[in-house]
């Protein structure tokens, strides 16, 4: 089997003296959607932050054949990893159009950037209409979509999606997952998604990992996990 696009092995992370990850190992293959499930405080967000370098981490993290465990967030982003953080990370003082332009900041291929902007706006037409509006004035769901659209502007090899459903209406969440699924099918977008809403996450993802107190407790195909009794009781609620 070819080397997966992303591979974590024994990754630990800490916030000051507090250890949040105790040796997480997982892989994401090119073109896959992989979900990370778990209760609050299980280390889901920290796992994404360890990959993008926004938390102190150790262990092995390989992305596209390169070790990235000691690289800065900006360096990881420049390798093609788009991290959409919890709370969306929209630059609220800047306009919608400026947010989109910054998504492509590390790129130099101007013509392709314009082309990508057209394609991205086809998925999110309202963003085109509100190009000059300050991002902070968008609704929560619109900001989440802007964050996703901005991530796509990087032409990312991997999108790290943190809790896209956070604080949003079910209809909006469904729409966001529909677009992510479509991008994955059509363009082969690779996504590592962290989600409280396990039902949605398992629907979108082909595989998933279940984290418990900073360790991988379970892993497997989405269908297998859906049938797993403890997953059903703890995360699916039936």
């Amino acid at each position: 089997m070819a080397e997966p696009l992303l591979a974590l092995e024994g990754v630990e992370a800490r916030y000051g003296p507090v250890k949040a990850l105790h040796g997480v190992s997982l892989t994401v293959g090119e073109g896959e959607i992989v979900a990370v499930l778990g209760a609050n405080g299980a280390g889901k967000t920290t796992t994404l932050r360890a990959i993008s370098g926004t938390v102190r981490r150790s262990g092995t993290i390989r992305f596209a054949g390169k070790g990235i465990a000691s690289r800065s967030p900006e360096a990881v982003a420049r390798l093609g990893v788009a991290h959409v953080p919890e709370g969306r990370g929209t630059l609220s003082e800047l306009s919608v159009g400026e947010n989109l332009r910054l998504g492509a900041y590390p790129r130099r291929d101007r013509a392709a950037i314009r082309e990508d902007e057209r394609r991205v706006l086809a998925h999110f037409p309202f963003l085109g209409e509100r190009r000059n509006q300050r991002a902070g004035t968008l609704s929560g769901g619109e900001q989440q979509m802007l964050a996703l659209a901005r991530a796509l502007m990087l032409r990312p090899r991997l999108v790290l999606l943190d809790e896209p459903s956070h604080g949003l209406a079910p209809r909006v969440v469904a729409e966001i997952f529909r677009i992510v699924g479509e991008l994955n099918e059509k363009d082969g977008l690779t996504v590592l998604v962290v989600e409280q809403n396990a039902i949605l996450a398992l629907e979108a993802a082909s595989r998933a990992y279940v984290l418990e107190v900073g360790r991988v407790a379970l892993e497997g195909g989405s269908d297998t996990l859906r049938r797993n009794e403890s997953v059903r009781k703890s995360y699916l609620g039936y």
Binding site: L91, E93, R101, L102, G136, L154
Partner: protein, 300 residues
């Protein structure tokens, strides 16, 4: 009374006020730039500008023309600003605001002391940037120097506006200042953006200093201390976080201070600085966000 009013004098004094205000605006913009990215008022900004002016003086002393020295000093100041950020501010980037304030206060004394050590404390003069000849506009004589100062100030402001609004670098500078964490996730080298901001601020201060000095009969190492206070007062008036506010605030203050000094006898030239400080106090009491400050709108 009304008939005897001297409109010529009003026009002349207004232009002088704008000329002073324009030079304060450059330093105020430097303050705002640092304030937005580092979150503190850089108390050393005036001394950095003074240091730059002394560099220009030395260059002219070694035979360069005023404008040659002017542009060379800009480059040196920019590099110096970047270096200061790397050496003095970078280590406290994540420290509490108060720590950073103390560091800029330390820089104030460091830069001031360095200027006194390199250059003796005797007074010196800088040649005029513009002709001292008056020019006649619609029957009123203005000094070319004042008009030149206004033109250069507005030119620098316009350049800065273009940089920040219409270039990719400017966009990254703004993003890095407002949302550093998120900006890093987008691949922006935030730490370098801060250094670049310090470089730009130092260069703007240098322009302010190099145009302030020639208008004085002579200057020494205290050159920029009143300018820093006026700049700060103007920036507070306009809203310390707003670049537009800083420019409008300092221009208004420049005109106000000059007119009140002209028409209110007991204020004259001696009490202008206290007037500026009264403006700071008044603004902070009545409208703390300043004329152009806005409470940030955010939906969650």
């Amino acid at each position: 009374m009304i008939l005897a009013f001297d409109w010529t004098q009003l026009a002349q004094q207004t232009v002088i006020g704008l000329s002073n205000g324009g030079l304060w605006a450059l330093l105020a913009l430097a303050l705002v730039l640092i304030y937005r990215s580092t979150g503190v008022v850089n108390f050393a900004q005036g001394e950095m500008a003074m240091f730059s002016t002394f560099v220009a003086w030395s260059l002219i002393h070694h035979g360069l023309s005023y404008w040659e020295a002017f542009f060379l000093t800009l480059v040196i100041s920019f590099a110096g600003g970047v270096a200061l950020e790397r050496v003095a501010i970078r280590p406290v980037e994540r420290a509490p605001v108060l720590t950073v304030v103390i560091v800029t206060l330390g820089l104030f004394f460091l830069v001031d002391g360095a200027a006194r050590w390199f250059w003796s404390s005797e007074t010196r003069t800088l040649p005029n940037a513009f002709s001292t000849r008056p020019i006649n506009v619609a029957g009123v004589a203005f000094s070319i120097q004042d008009l030149g100062n206004i033109a250069v100030s507005l030119g620098v402001v316009a350049l800065l506006f273009v940089l920040f609004q219409f270039t990719k670098l400017g966009l990254a500078l703004r993003a890095a200042a407002v949302n550093p964490e998120e900006s890093r996730l987008l691949g922006i080298r935030v730490s370098w953006m801060l250094a670049l901001g310090w470089g730009l601020a130092a260069a703007m201060g240098a322009v302010s200093g190099m145009l302030t000095a020639p208008a004085l009969a002579s200057f020494d190492q205290n050159l920029m201390q009143p300018v820093l206070l006026y700049a700060f007062a103007g920036a507070v008036l306009g809203g310390i976080a707003s670049p537009l506010g800083a420019v409008v605030g300092t221009l208004l203050l420049g005109v106000f201070v000059n007119l009140i000094g002209t028409y209110v006898n007991w204020i004259g030239t001696d009490l202008r600085l206290p007037v500026a400080l009264a403006v700071i106090l008044g603004v902070l009491l009545v409208r703390p966000a300043g004329l152009f400050g806005r409470a940030s709108v955010r939906r969650v």
